[in-house]
């Protein structure tokens, strides 16, 4: 009876439009936020922050961006990695050209650069669909990474071709660079992710979200219902690339600390796509679940042989890891093609009617 919704009536549309119409959902959220803001920081060690918590958040954000494009607006993109790169390089240039600039401002500004690039590469979506569209995004992927490599201005002509995050302070606390502590960076990322997620939820449940979903489900019909396909698709590319760009900036500035062009290669795109799909296309929460699975699980798996005392070499662990992730992906797709979010929804539904079946 934990999840009983009966008795929770809505008497106005206003109430129906609350973020969490069902009380239990709100409690659950409070619980998760408590976990994220209080419990983890008190218990986790630095390795946990750097290897799991912060990356999970950043990857969730990237997947959220992708999900808006692919899950909500139905436009498949294989170029997420490169768009993250645009955000990262933009942020790097902003920070180095204007050393005075507040890092928060720089990060949120850098999103606009990737958004612009995203829109440019989204233009073909007006004519090209499905897998064929993936090619446009792949073109972006490879072209941009090439550009990151060849355009020395982007990395300030550094000899190695890599960008290195300087130490940056925010209100007197170092948040980026080698001197930043993992905990500060975690809180920083957590706050950004919370804000963006909140905005994204609102966006996806309102008019614009509906328009995106219409385009996804049937673009011809959407057009005949009066939706301007061009605008709809391009806003999706814009918003999506914006979020992806921010996540890219966070990726480098609040986590990696440095980056070379290859970091943004297609593997990264795939990783983010995995997260979005395993989490559930067309779901905001799914991104977080997906990221936990794809980012945190491998880290955990790699500890297993050690814990069990199995005499397995590092390479073998890696091989097995790759293999297991492959199997997990297939397994999850088979069990629930619509992702973990749907899985949770089903559990929730069962909880709602529990303990009375059917």
């Amino acid at each position: 009876m934990l999840y009983r919704v009966a008795g929770q009536f809505k008497t106005s549309y206003q109430a129906d439009y609350a973020l969490f119409p069902v009380r239990q959902d709100a409690w659950l959220l409070v619980f998760i936020l408590l976990l994220a803001f209080v419990v983890f920081p008190m218990t986790a060690n630095e390795f946990m922050f750097r290897a799991m918590l912060t990356p999970v958040l950043i990857y969730s954000l990237a997947a959220l961006g992708l999900n808006i494009l692919t899950g909500y607006a139905g436009q498949l993109s294989l170029g997420t990695g490169a768009f993250m790169g645009v955000g990262a390089y933009a942020c790097y240039k902003l920070v180095t050209i204007f050393p005075e600039m507040n890092i928060v401002v720089a990060i949120f500004l850098s999103g606009f650069f990737s958004a612009a690039v995203g829109v440019a590469f989204g233009l073909p979506s007006l004519r090209i669909k499905g897998f064929y569209l993936a090619i446009a995004t792949l073109a972006a992927q490879f072209f941009l990474v090439w550009l990151f490599q060849k355009w020395a201005w982007l990395y300030n002509y550094s000899a190695s071709g890599a960008i290195q995050v300087p130490n940056i302070k925010l209100f007197g606390v170092t948040v980026a660079g080698a001197h930043a502590t993992a905990l500060t960076q975690y809180y920083f990322v957590l706050c950004v992710v919370c804000v963006v997620t909140f905005l994204a939820i609102n966006l996806t449940r309102g008019r614009i979200g509906r328009i995106w979903k219409s385009v996804r489900d049937m673009d011809i019909a959407a057009e005949l219902v009066g939706i301007n396909l061009m605008k709809a698709k391009l806003t999706a590319f814009f918003v999506s690339s914006y979020i992806v760009g921010i996540s890219g900036a966070l990726f480098v500035f609040l986590w990696r600390g440095a980056a070379e062009a290859e970091l943004f290669d297609i593997q990264l795109s795939f990783k983010v796509l995995f997260i979005a799909i395993i989490g559930g296309l067309g779901s905001i929460m799914g991104n977080f679940l997906g990221a936990i699975l794809i980012v945190a699980l491998p880290v955990l798996i790699s500890f297993v042989p050690g814990l069990l005392g199995l005499p397995i070499g590092a390479a073998m662990v890696e091989h097995l890891n790759v293999m297991i992730i492959g199997m997990l992906i297939i397994g999850f797709l088979i069990v629930e093609p619509h992702g973990l979010a749907r899985f949770w929804a089903m559990i929730r539904e069962k909880l709602i009617i529990w303990p009375f079946p059917h």
Binding site: A136, A315, L320, M323, I325
Partner: protein, 319 residues
């Protein structure tokens, strides 16, 4: 007007002034084009019969080549290793059908695409576990593939054509002709095409999904082996091969996802153009390595004009 010269005039002047070099460039383009085309062929077959964009085609190439070489290294003679490898590919096809495709029948395209990436990861892990990660030599001579060079010396320069490349080109042509005949003239071929249009309807008329899928994946496996031998002969067999699978994607898009001849022509086009562009424009003007994106940008431009690719099936849009 100064920028016109290096872009519009100099490259062509270079081509004319060193014709032997141009011929070599074109030949290199053709050879890599054939390889792209071969991989793309595997994609096309599977796409035609199941609307799956099989990302695993690239790793299948590696896997097939590794199995062949691995068997040989473990003492199996070449003539036996070849059929045994085919056997392994058949088992792989059956396995994939049972474990992955069957439970995922009727799921959206993107889910299946993801599943094939899952297969890719699994095969990478498996392959490395069994065969190790290092680069291996392809057993070219043992398979009876000639390895010498033909050297021509036209226009006072020289053009060097490797015999194994030539073999590859000829082999690819044969493979394609056989495939085309199979698809268009045989009952199975028709069933494959039918399946691509509508799974449910195909099931309802008694077309057996499992049989066809196993068949198709097996053929893709054969193509993968052929590709693996050819490519391995050039650059050795290692997991780095897998990245060429990515090159097959623009080839596919350019040629059209379901067109066999499109794969061939698209492959050759991309192979040749990207090489020519890289040598005459990319390296002098753009700092090189343009091959990494040229194919995609070219495909993109073509798609803008023809959204279904050069030879793809027209997208039927009706309401």
């Amino acid at each position: 007007m100064e920028f016109i010269h290096p872009i519009l005039i100099k490259p062509f002047a270079d081509m004319v002034s060193a014709p032997d070099f141009l011929v070599q460039v074109l030949w290199e383009g053709i050879v890599s084009g054939v390889l792209y085309a071969l991989i793309a062929l595997g994609f096309v077959l599977i796409f035609k019969s199941s609307r799956i964009l099989n990302f695993a085609q690239g790793i299948m190439v590696v896997f097939a080549a590794l199995t062949l070489v691995g068997l040989y290294e473990r003492g199996v003679p070449a003539w036996l290793a070849l059929p045994l490898t085919l056997g392994v590919m058949l088992v792989l096809a059956i396995g994939i059908e049972r474990v992955v495709l069957r439970p995922l029948v009727n799921q959206p395209d993107i889910i299946l695409f993801m599943a094939t990436i899952g297969i890719t990861m699994f095969l990478i892990g498996l392959g490395e576990t069994i065969f190790g990660g290092e680069n291996k030599r392809m057993i070219t001579e043992e398979l009876g593939i000639p390895t010498g060079n033909f050297i021509f010396e036209p226009f006072g320069g020289f053009v060097s054509i490797e015999q194994k490349d030539l073999t590859a080109v000829i082999g690819a042509v044969v493979l394609v002709v056989v495939l085309l005949l199979f698809l268009n003239k045989s009952k199975m071929g028709r069933a494959i095409r039918a399946l691509g249009d509508d799974h449910q309807a195909a099931l309802s008329v008694g077309i057996s999904l499992s049989t066809i899928w196993v068949l198709v994946w097996f053929i893709a496996g054969i193509i993968a082996l052929a590709t693996g031998i050819v490519w391995g002969a050039r650059a050795g067999v290692s997991f780095a091969l897998e990245v060429i699978a990515l090159k097959a994607l623009p080839v596919l898009m350019l040629g059209g996802l379901e067109s066999v001849s499109g794969a061939i022509i698209g492959g050759l086009m991309i192979g040749i153009l990207e090489k020519v562009f890289e040598i005459y424009w990319g390296q002098p003007l753009l700092g090189g390595s343009t091959e990494s994106w040229f194919a995609y940008v070219l495909a993109l431009l073509v798609l803008l004009a023809r959204p279904q690719g050069l030879f793809g099936e027209k997208i039927i849009e009706r309401v």
